[in-house]
Amino acid sequence: MHNKPRDEAAYSLRKRETQVLKYVVKRVLLMLMVTLIVVSMCFILVKLLPIKPAVQFGKDMQLIEMRREALGYNKPLIEQYFIFLQRSVIGGDWGVSETLYLGQDVWSKFMEKMPATMLVNFYTMIIAVPLGLMFGIYAALKKNKWQDHFISTSVIIFVSVPSYVYAFLVQYFLCFKLKWFPFQMEPGNDLLSWKTFVSLVPAIISLGFGIVAGLTRYTRAELTEVLTSEFLLLARTKGLTRSQTTVRHALRNSMVPIFPMILGEFIGIIGGSLIIEQIFGIPGVGPLYVSSITASPPDYNFFMLLSAFYTLVGLVSGIIIDLSYGFVDPRIRMGSKK
């Protein structure tokens, strides 16, 4: 059956497909398991805290006690845990806010805050990715010339400096000294307007520096590796010009690892823009999480949901990076044995 080469190829392709599928299923299952364990851990640790409200003038303790009884806070921990699993993790009902937005549904508040976070990250990626690719390609093509040295040195500096330092610089010079942009994001519901975009520019710049620098470094490294490989030499010897080989062969091949990195970066940034959102007053998920922790007493329902969210974001971005490698480049096989 396997004597014909075509059959052989089809067989190995099928085999590879099942391998990838198996790997994907394994990783996704592991991800769900990890999330469940982390959420359970958070739940139990939070419930172990003494969260009885203190007796205070003007507080009707009887009413508070009735409310706690009605919400099931007085049941045994194990029973509460199973109710939590059933209602929140499976049913998607994460309860109501206790301190921040008293009585409002946690999930709908979370969904209300999501667009702002997504918007900032989306704008940042749209601006940062082309810039990063451009600088990286330029540096790789000018390898070991002064342009490359300049870009590489700047990259080291820009990749190291924390994003909040950029935020201070941007706020001080662009917002305060030059008065080009407002200090904080424009309040209002009209997220897609030009005015909102302008008010988001400081946040985009502060977030973008690190991403542009990281992408430049990565693109340069990948492209220089491809540019020195043998098949490119072959392409040159068969008569293609330098620009033809670069565009048709080198760039395409170097995109293999760069693309998943961009994707993973996009998801990772959702979890990483916490500080920037806080500094520029963006009504996103980050400030919600921080204020749920710093509120007294902490808003545990928000904390549970957002902890699960951030855990999931981190895991998904990791999986996407790993998986995309396998999907895009047939030479890399995830989970393969030696």
Partner: protein
């Protein structure tokens, strides 16, 4: 064939060396052997950027160690003294660094009453806060037409002017004795208008603080006078105080005859000199609460470094053992342990920090809880590196040889395989340090942990406290930002250089 078996009967003389004439010798090496670490050091020192980076790290490190010791005489170390609260938001000033603009001056726009106060300070104390007037007495079309404005360069240290302080008789006497000894005027005459809140207005002024000048444009003093019998003040007197019949009063006396206290107008600048033994001059300025940024930042850096080094070494310890067991035994043990570390790696750092804060901060303190949060997941990267190295080396012939000779598992693991991963381990644990400092500063910046107290601070705390004064007093946030940026850049360069130096495959590839 059979006689061959009697080889013990071959006489000894029949044996000869095969190559007696030219016996084979190992050629003695002409060059000195280069040990692995010497080679690493050589290749590292060839990388100029990394060497510069390591020098910067060394300087920052020395600053963190010796900064608080140099600043020991500084008043910020005093915990019970709340006087420093009066010296907040002073800009950087140092006589050796004045050429960098660290001369304690700033450019401001003042309205007329505020400008007159500065003039009054100059006239009374002889310390001129106004260094340069760029634009005098102009009207601003956006403001009221009657108010005039001044664009000036002001010395913020002299600008502090006067302050009302309450002394006990002993303190009052001590201050007078110091004045006599040094000849520096600290206490200035009291004024007649006891309702005047601003201690700087020693001249006739309306309730809004606008001075009522005499016909020559001079201030009209409203100093309080007393009788010659009053002996509570015997020290230096200002030049105008020359009438022996009507001497000026240098303090407002309050309280009863048994618990008497003196409310005196003192020069803030000279009072600092009296209290702390040196003229106020802060190379990095002071925070909003009056703490010296130079000392405070060094103390914060020291805390951050200490935390980072402690975390790094504990992570190294746990990670090395965990990774070694995983990598060496493999199979089911590896699988189980990998799953455990997968789960731990899935916990976002911010979640771990919060939970540790909520649960442990009461028992082990905020810093302790933060430390445990770092330990919880920090070792995973190290374990993964060690595990990888073990997989690479455990099937090598020399390990098999050692096993055949009867070496125990732990000996094989830590004597034979582990040294191979030294390079990656050292690089990894050094790069943990900036990571810890960065995470700590992010968490404190977000306000999830609060390390601020009179004895303790961290770089992130200083950033978080300074952000409110970003536009008004940018130096408060500038120095911590500069510190953390320099630290990150140099650690990254240093780490890159170290990684290349430890990579034997790059040997001889450079230059």
């Amino acid at each position: 064939m059979s006689e061959n078996k009697f080889y013990q009967n071959i006489p000894k003389e029949k044996f000869v060396f095969v190559d007696d004439a030219d016996r084979l010798h190992d050629k003695k090496l002409e060059t000195k052997p280069v040990s692995y670490f010497r080679d690493v050091l050589q290749r590292f020192s060839r990388n100029r950027a990394s060497v510069v980076a390591s020098i910067i790290i060394l300087i920052l490190f020395l600053y963190a160690i010796f900064g608080p010791i140099i600043g020991r005489n500084n008043y910020t170390t005093s915990l019970t003294d709340t006087m420093y609260l009066n010296y907040g938001k002073l800009p950087p000033k140092n006589k050796y660094l004045a050429f960098l603009g660290m001369d304690g001056t700033s450019k401001v726009t003042l309205n007329d009453p505020d400008f007159q106060i500065l003039r009054g300070i100059y006239e009374e104390t002889g310390m001129n806060p106004v260094l340069e007037v760029y634009r005098a007495a102009y009207t601003d079309s956006t403001a009221s037409k009657t108010s005039r404005f001044y664009d000036i360069k002001v010395d913020n240290y002299y600008r502090m002017g006067m302050i009302y302080l309450t002394f006990t008789p002993a303190q009052y006497a001590d201050l007078q004795a110091w004045q006599d000894k040094t000849g520096i005027q600290v206490i200035y005459p009291a004024i007649t208008d006891a309702k005047q809140v601003n201690a700087n207005i020693w001249y006739k002024a309306n309730p809004k603080g606008i001075p009522q000048l005499d016909k020559d444009g001079n201030f009209v003093p409203i100093y309080r006078t007393t009788t010659p019998t009053d002996t509570s003040y015997t020290s230096l007197r200002i030049p105008q105080d020359n009438d022996p019949e009507k001497p000026m009063a240098y303090a407002r006396v309050t309280g009863t005859s048994t618990t008497r206290s003196y409310v005196a107008r003192v020069s803030k600048y000279q009072y600092f000199n009296y209290r702390y033994g040196f003229e106020p001059s802060f190379p990095f300025g002071t925070t909003d609460r009056g703490q010296d940024i130079f000392t405070r930042l060094a103390a914060g850096a020291r805390f951050s470094f200490m935390l980072a080094i402690l975390v790094s070494s504990i992570n190294l310890f746990i990670g090395a053992i965990y990774g070694a067991i995983e990598g060496y035994y493999g199979g089911a043990i590896d699988l189980t342990m990998e799953r455990i570390s997968d789960i731990l790696a899935g916990i976002p750092f911010i979640v771990a920090t919060t939970l540790f804060q909520l649960h442990m901060a009461k028992h082990v303190g905020v810093a302790g809880a933060l430390f445990f949060a770092f330990i919880l997941t920090g070792w995973i990267g190290m374990a993964a590196r060690v595990r990888m190295q073990f997989y690479r080396f455990k099937r090598q012939e020399y390990v098999l040889a050692a096993r055949t000779l009867g070496a125990s598992d732990s000996r094989l693991m830590f004597k034979h395989i582990f040294p191979n991963s030294m390079g990656t381990i050292i690089t990894g644990s050094i790069l943990v340090i900036p990571g810890v400092i960065f995470s700590e500063s992010s968490m404190t910046y977000l306000g999830i942990i609060n390390l601020e107290s009179s004895t303790m601070t961290s770089v992130g705390t200083m950033l978080a406290n300074g952000k409110n004064f970003l536009s008004t007093y940018p130096f408060i946030i500038f120095f911590p930002s500069l510190f953390i940026s320099l630290l990150m850049i140099s650690f990254n360069l240093f780490g890159n250089g170290l990684r290349d130096a430890f990579n034997p495959s790059l040997r001889g590839v450079e230059d």
